[in-house]
Every structure is written in C-alpha cells, then in structure tokens.
Amino acid sequence: MTGWIPRIIAISGSDIGIIISLVVIGGGLAWLLKQSIKAGDVDRRIVFLFIFISVSVPILFPITFSETATPIVKKLYDRIENLPEGSAVLISFDFDPAMAPEVQPMADAFARHCLAKNHKVIFMSLWATGQSLLSTTLQNVVRPEFPEKIEGVDFANLGYKAGNEGVLNVIVTNFRKMFPTDVNSIPLDSIAVFKKIRSCQDLDLIISIGGGKPGAKEWILFVGDPANVPMGCGVAAVTAPQLYPYYPKQLLGILGGIKGAAEYESELVRHYDRFADVKKPGLRMMGPQTLAHVVIMAFIVLGNISYFVTRRRGKKP
C-alpha cells in the first residue's frame, strides 16, 4: 500500500478515526443543539458536511463498532462453537458477484470460525457463478490464514454442479452420485474428509449463503427437513424476512445483510484473538453506515427541538 501521496499518518488508524469522529461529530452536534434552541434551523450545508464527515472518516480510518449479536445470529455462532472438534460442516455458496459484497463477508466469517474450531469443512455451490466466489474465499481467507490446513484432510471443495434442487435431491442420500469427484477431479473416496461422510445425513451442520433461488429455502425443503440436519444461513437483507418463519425450528440462525455479517464478525473477534487483525468487511462497512444513521437521527431530533422552540416562541408574543 505505497500510495503516491506519502502516508504521513502513522498512528493506529482506528484510534484516530474514533477520536476525530467523536470530537468533530459529537462536538458539532452539541454546538448545533445550542444553535437550534437559540436560533432555529441550521443551514442544510451543515447537514451535508456532517454526512460527509460521518461517511468519509470511517473509510479513511476504519472505525468498527462493536455489534451485539442478536439472538438469531448468536444461536448459529454458538452451535458452531459448541460442536465437538472434527465435526463436518458444509458451506454452500449460493450467490453471484452482484450479491457478493453483502454475503461474502458471512462466508468468510463462517469459514474462519469452522476452521479455527478444527471442524471439517466442505465447500460447494449451487450457482454457476458461485464457484469463482468460493475460490475467492479459499484464496483470500482459508489458505493464507490457515496454512496448516490441508485440502482434502481438513476441508474439501466440491465446486459447482448444475441441477439446482436436483443436486440437493441426490446428495441428501448420496454425495458420490452427484459429486463422484471434487473440483480437482480427485475421487471422493480418496478424500479424507469424506471418509465417514456418505450423504448430507452425516453432516453436523449445513450453512447456505445466498439470497436467491436456489438458496436457504431449498436447502431446508430438500435437505434440512428430510434428512434432519441442523441448518443455518446467511442471506441478503432483502431476503431475510422470508426466512424468519423457519427460525428457530428449521434454521438455527439467520444472518441478514451486512449487519448480520458484522454481528458475526464482532462475535468472532470477541472470542478469538487470532482474528483481531484480519479484514472484517462486514464491520468495516457498518462503520460509515452506523455513523451516518446516527447523524441522521440526531438531525431529526434537532429538527424537532428547533420546531418546538420556534412554535413556543411564536405563541408567546
């Protein structure tokens, strides 16, 4: 990261970010509060300035807010945490590049968590476009952060198979029918991960990540329910409400949108020191969002204060 503008700032980015934003935004809002009570509305350029600061500062100096995991996220986290070491977890990448910014952080977080707990992880995809995103996770997260993990022994990559629900229909009783080999054309029988796994029924947890069809819903209907395998999912924010009815009976937990990802990352960081310094896109993207939301809410409050003050003054001649 050697930019052509020399980097002058050498202090830890996140500290200075928090200081700047607290001082500027907090102080500014306090000053505005005084102004609103005294003189009414503020110029809208000041509103613009606040938004600009609240979005740009966390981009420059990453600020991460510690998210409290909602129960719906926490339950899924706890399940992965409490499974005995060496359990088999399947993570399915059912999304395309358009959805990736929202759900790939979840995939990364799940992969990290499972590997850190020494679970055996099986990666696959029901979407043709999901395979390259799967490789992205393997390349950016699994291989660099877990160099000790060996493909085939600790995790396996089945890649993509065409057939949507048809694939699920088959693997619920037999993986080898649908995936005679993994993505590298190695027969499943020579892969250690699959030594004891014949079908989805032998898995301890299935996680579907996506937001379209086929996705979490199809996994529940074709695999989770009939084979009685615990399931979790991570989906785009717009899809999440459609899955709530399945929680908590058929889904252990749901991560909805970038906020769900941020909550999960937050939980990971809290329990694992090794993840303190890895990239956390979910939390990072929530930084500008949270500050901007707070600023907007603060301005709504300010607006109402100045409105009531002016009205009271108007009434008293």
């Binding site: 930019g3 981009i59 009815p245």
Partner: protein, 277 residues
C-alpha cells in the same frame, strides 16, 4: 470573469496536472498505456468532485460537468439505440445487403405477424417512425399522431391486463390470510411475543394489520364519496397506515444510499488518491 475565479481555475488546473503526472507515474509499472490511464482517472476524479461541489452551491465546475454529461449521454443512448435496435433488430430482418455491410447475421423466414414475412412486416415500424419525423414539417405535422396512437394503444392494451392481474387480482387474493397460524395451544400463544415461528401472536397480529391496513388504505383512495362518519374514520386509519409505510420505506432506503456515497468516496480515496488499501 472575477479575479477569484481565475485564481481558482488556475489552481484546479495545476492540481489536475500534478495528479495526472503523479497518477501516471504510479501506474507506470502496471500498464503500458499509463499516461492515458492517469489522465482518465484524474478526469473521473475531477468530474466526481465537480458534481459534489454542487452541494455547496451552483458553480462553474458543476455547470461544466452537467453540460458535458448532457451532451455525452444523449449521444451515448443514440449510438446504442442505433447499433442495438436498428442494426441489431431491424436490419437483419429487412435486408441481406445491409446485414452483410454491418456484419450481422441475416434473419430469414420468420413470421412475427403470421402471414406477413418479417421482410415486409418490419416496414411497419419504419413507416411509423418516418411518420413521427413528419412533425418537423408544418403542413403534414398532424400525421405524427398516428405512430403515437400505435404506441399508446399498445401500452394501454398491455397494461390493462398486466395490472389487472399482478396489481389487482394477485394483491387482493394475497390479503386472504389465515387468522390462526400453526396453532400450538394457548400456552405458546401468550408466552412468545417474538417474530419467529414460535411467536404466533405476533404473526397473527401482523396478518390482522395487513388485512385491516389494506382495507382502510383502499377506503382512503375512494374518490366519489365524501370521507365522513365510519367511512371517514376508516380513511383516516388508511392515511396512518400509509404514513407508517412511507416513514418505514424511507428509513429502510437510507442504508443503500449511504452505500452509494461509500462507493464514490472509496473511488476518490482508493483509486485516485491511494490513501487506503
């Protein structure tokens, strides 16, 4: 031109030039065409900042960006329309020679209009298009309403059925919601006030709200009856439901809008200034 303006222009020109040079130097080891790339990225950054400057007030930089945008985009859509619609859809059906000229595969023997081969029937839009251009003539301008009638007739016909089906029949029938959802006994009903599958009370409450909300909302849209009495009460509830809808939808979109700004600022800080990794 005022003096401050001249100084400002000069300043911007200098910054632009410096950025171009520095950016090109920075891209040197990655690309062969680093000089033009450096220029294009600097230009994109300059245009981005010009638009953002509008938030302060209208100014010559914004005016420049705006006028450039209008000219370029108008020509963009025209070129695209020409190549994709005229060359892509019309010419292959009309003429072998022209297809060969534009190097597009000729489509033969199709009958979109049953007995008329496409070779003939595709003159209909051409003729209608030319009739539309007739409005430039003072004498025969009135004939340009024929293609309009064709277009409007097409839409009216299509929309009539489409909206009746998806916005009316389907929406009305999806308000047929069950009052009791997956009943599991009163114990569960009153103990779990949550959103999820166990929280039957909340699900049912949601169904009731949808049902009553839709009815009251519809009452609000009655035009030929005065909103008085029970009718007026229902229409007032209707307005409230609409107001919650508007407030909630507004709040819900904020996140997406902030993401757009994050995207633009990331371009400035990362692709242009290389401040962040």
């Amino acid at each position: 031109m005022s003096r401050t303006m001249i100084i400002l222009l000069a300043l911007v020109a200098i910054v632009f030039a410096v950025s171009w040079a520095a950016k090109s130097a920075s891209l040197d080891d990655q690309y062969d065409d680093y000089i033009s790339r450096g220029f294009l990225i600097t230009l994109a950054a300059f245009l981005t900042l010009s638009i953002l400057s509008f938030l302060y007030k209208d100014n010559p930089f914004y005016k420049f960006a705006e006028h450039l945008f209008v000219g370029v985009s108008a020509a963009y859509w025209m070129s695209l329309g020409f190549w994709s619609t005229i060359v892509g859809n019309l010419i292959p059906r009309l003429s072998v020679t022209l297809s060969a000229f534009f190097k597009v595969p000729h489509i033969e023997d199709e009958y979109a209009l049953y007995i008329l081969p496409d070779k003939v029937s595709y003159f209909i839009p051409v003729v209608l298009g030319i009739l539309l251009l007739m409005r430039l003539s003072k004498k025969a301008g009135w004939i340009s309403s024929w293609p309009l009638a064709f277009i409007v007739g097409t839409t009216a016909g299509l929309n009539l059925v489409r909206y009746l089906r998806s916005d009316f029949i389907e929406q009305v029938s999806s308000t047929f919601v069950p009052l009791l959802v997956d009943w599991q006994g009163t114990g569960r009903f009153f103990s779990d006030f949550n959103l999820y599958a166990y929280g039957q009370f909340v699900t049912m409450l949601g169904n009731w709200v949808i049902f009553i909300g839709v009815l009251c909302g519809l009452v609000y849209f009655f035009f030929s009856k005065e909103h008085k009495g029970i009718f007026g009460g229902a229409s007032r509830v209707g307005i409230w439901v609409l107001m919650i809808t508007f407030g909630a939808s507004f709040g819900y979109t904020v996140m997406g809008r902030i993401s757009l700004l994050v995207g633009r600022l990331t371009f400035l800080f990362h692709d242009w200034l290389e401040l962040i990794g």
